[in-house]
């Protein structure tokens, strides 16, 4: 059955039936949650070996005692491990605290207060600062912009990544555009991995602003669900080839590798950028938690250790993604009222409904005890101009909970769409 091909009477009949189904489900008094991009407890258990891994000797047998002050930009062992994993040199990386979001926030704050480089004024001196925001995207990126009064410009996502024609044109013509937020692999929420051509076009951008930066949040860089994960071209290398080494700030963390909140985060950037960040953030702190960095290094041993660890995550998450995706396939392959992505990694599935149906679907789910990410959250200012996008986060619930939740979700999609088609 495809609602888009039904006449009003058939739609009305279907609505009446779905409403009965919905009432039955409401009586179940469910409490389910598909809103949060959080690892489940069994994923966290994978890292419990890290809790008790450090000994006294581990901490002291270095050029300095890692239990004491010293080393601002990360212990060499951690730098080496992440450089191997991500392709960078030791003076092109800093290992910092527990949160890559905080590194991004600090980068923006520094740009406002102290400026990005010596030839451009601090953003606080400018009339207007704008960022390009591929949509749907990550609400936390947008929230930083909103907090700082940065004007956000929506850029449509395509199956290849952001619409690069628009990106290239805008950055070339508007000096107020100072950055773009990207989650280039298994994007949040679409699960899109940018194509090689998209990455190359990023590396070859010719921004009018001399202090434009690509905020490359590589949050899901090794978060593959399948052995043949998506391959993302190394932006940093491409930028060097293009003679644009200082264009990207590349961020990452182990929040979804070890523990969210108790992981380590890093930034990769050109030697010049790193040198400037160190210089400009020296007043901020004496240093970051070296013992937690060391904990990670001892637990993983090396970059391969991280990759092996991520396969264990994939074993646990894959069935959850497949539970949701097979339900969507079953319910909506003929009934063309829903489009969805088939991510091969990351933490989210993104769906598009008919225009004007997202909020109502989230509302219907909530009334039936299933919490979804708020409609609009994936857009700047929380405003989805077409009110059609919903982000599904399948990792935290169990497979059994997910099956139940996604059933409610599919029903809510149908109800909201029927109401829309019938102008109710």
């Amino acid at each position: 059955m495809d609602y888009l091909k039904l006449d009003k009477n058939a739609l009305r009949e279907e609505l009446s039936e779905k409403r009965k189904e919905y009432e039955r489900i409401r009586e179940k008094d469910l409490k389910l949650d598909m809103s949060r991009g959080k690892p489940a407890a069994d994923q966290l258990n994978l890292s419990d070996g890290m809790l008790n891994i450090l000994t006294h000797d581990d901490c002291v047998n270095h050029t300095i005692d890692y239990r004491n002050y010293g080393i601002f930009d990360g212990i060499p062992e951690a730098k080496e491990m992440f450089c191997d994993l991500l392709g960078a040199e030791k003076d092109e990386i800093m290992i910092l605290g527990n949160s890559s979001l905080n590194i991004m926030y600090d980068a923006i704050i520094r740009s406002f207060v102290l400026g990005v480089n010596s030839s451009c004024p601090p953003w606080s001196k400018l009339e207007k600062v704008k960022f390009l925001c591929p949509v749907p995207g990550y609400d936390r990126h947008f929230r930083i912009c909103e907090r700082m009064g940065i004007e956000m410009i929506n850029i449509d996502m395509t199956p290849e990544g952001p619409d690069m024609d628009t990106v290239e044109r805008l950055v070339a013509e508007d000096e107020a555009i100072k950055g773009i937020w990207c989650v280039p692999k298994y994007s949040n929420p679409g699960g899109v991995t940018y194509s090689d051509e998209t990455v190359r076009r990023f590396a070859n951008l010719k921004p009018k602003a001399g202090d434009f930066r690509i905020f490359w949040d590589n949050a899901y860089c090794i978060h593959d669900l399948y052995d043949d994960g998506d391959k993302l071209l190394n932006l940093f290398e491409e930028c060097k080839k293009a003679g644009n080494p200082s264009l990207p700030y590349i961020f990452g963390s182990t929040s979804k590798i070890t523990y969210p909140g108790a992981g380590v985060a890093f930034i990769i950037a050109s030697k010049n950028n790193i040198r400037r960040i160190i210089d400009r953030s020296g007043a901020q702190t004496i240093g970051y938690d070296k013992l937690n960095q060391l904990r990670h290094v001892k637990f993983f041993k090396n970059a391969d250790g991280i990759k092996i660890h991520m396969k264990k995550h994939a074993e646990l998450i894959r069935p959850k993604f497949e539970t949701v995706l097979s339900a969507l396939e079953r319910e909506f392959s003929e009934n063309k009222i829903l489009e969805w992505t088939n991510p091969r990694g990351g933490y989210f599935i993104s769906v598009n409904l008919l225009d004007g149906c997202a909020k109502r679907t989230v509302e219907l789910c909530a009334e039936a005890g299933v919490v979804l990410t708020g409609a609009g959250a994936t857009f700047p200012y929380g405003k989805d101009p077409r009110d059609r996008n919903i982000r599904i986060a399948p990792t935290f619930p169990t497979v059994a909970e997910l099956s139940e939740a996604v059933e409610v979700f599919c029903l809510a999609v149908k109800l909201a769409t029927l109401e829309k088609l019938l102008n109710i």
Copy 2:
């Protein structure tokens, strides 16, 4: 012998003798360091029980799984422990990352970008922002101001704390004065604990600026060398009594209780201040390292556990302070060319030489292989107007090293003073 009472000939004779001594010491090729306020390895060993203290069950048996996202302002167990220790309610404290300096920096940054409260504009909109800086003081405080272009005004320290007559007058007349840096107990570097009257005068300040804050860096709140440690009146309580609950930001950390860099840091402030900080820093990060907070709680159990732990630190540090102080007593009780403080806690000893002798003393020490904190470092902009103050950090070297280093130091003081008195 008191150089101040010698005639030129006697001074010359003494100089010639001291120079010979100095040459003998230089030949020893020493490598000693009294520059850094760092715990020694034996102090760090006291906390090694913390390295392996957490189990899986410790982490998961809470309202939420502490290994996962969630809780922005600190785990309740950590709040309770530090509230008990410092006298605050649970909604008057936030437990954050590893660095109280970073919390102070963030507070200043937020004031610039977003403002301190809703009735005052962000500091970035103001022509000028000034801070009062009791001197000698902590170089890292001054560095934040320097980085942010905040004009620093020196305030003399007295044995009771900062010169409050001047503080009261200046904050009452100048709206550009937005804060004052205080290390109220065992001040860095003087080791002065503010008197009850000083604390009460702070609590009753009537600043012209509606967004003036006392930056109360209580870094050495329980860092007593003796059982009968100095008692510091609770500023927070006094502020409440005075009807000024929102005047102070109170900072602290376990950097010198457990591990520098791998400790936990906190801020205590009025409910309104805390609520605003949470609101204004929500865009910054998802949360801080709850596992490290939990590690601390399990290790100490409660506030008393911290106090017992600090007695062990005192056992290790006390002989070091006494080594330095007894040498100063021996060399300079009659020879009145040096004044020094007798701190009963904290991390530093502060000495004042004759005007114009500090830099030269540090230089002479360096040439003889003894590193001291740079002269001037204890003043804003690194400029000691009288070039007389030197900070001695006795905790990091061994007692044997200290004995040797302080001997060199005393000799350097004498040489520099003799040169000065003889106009050489």
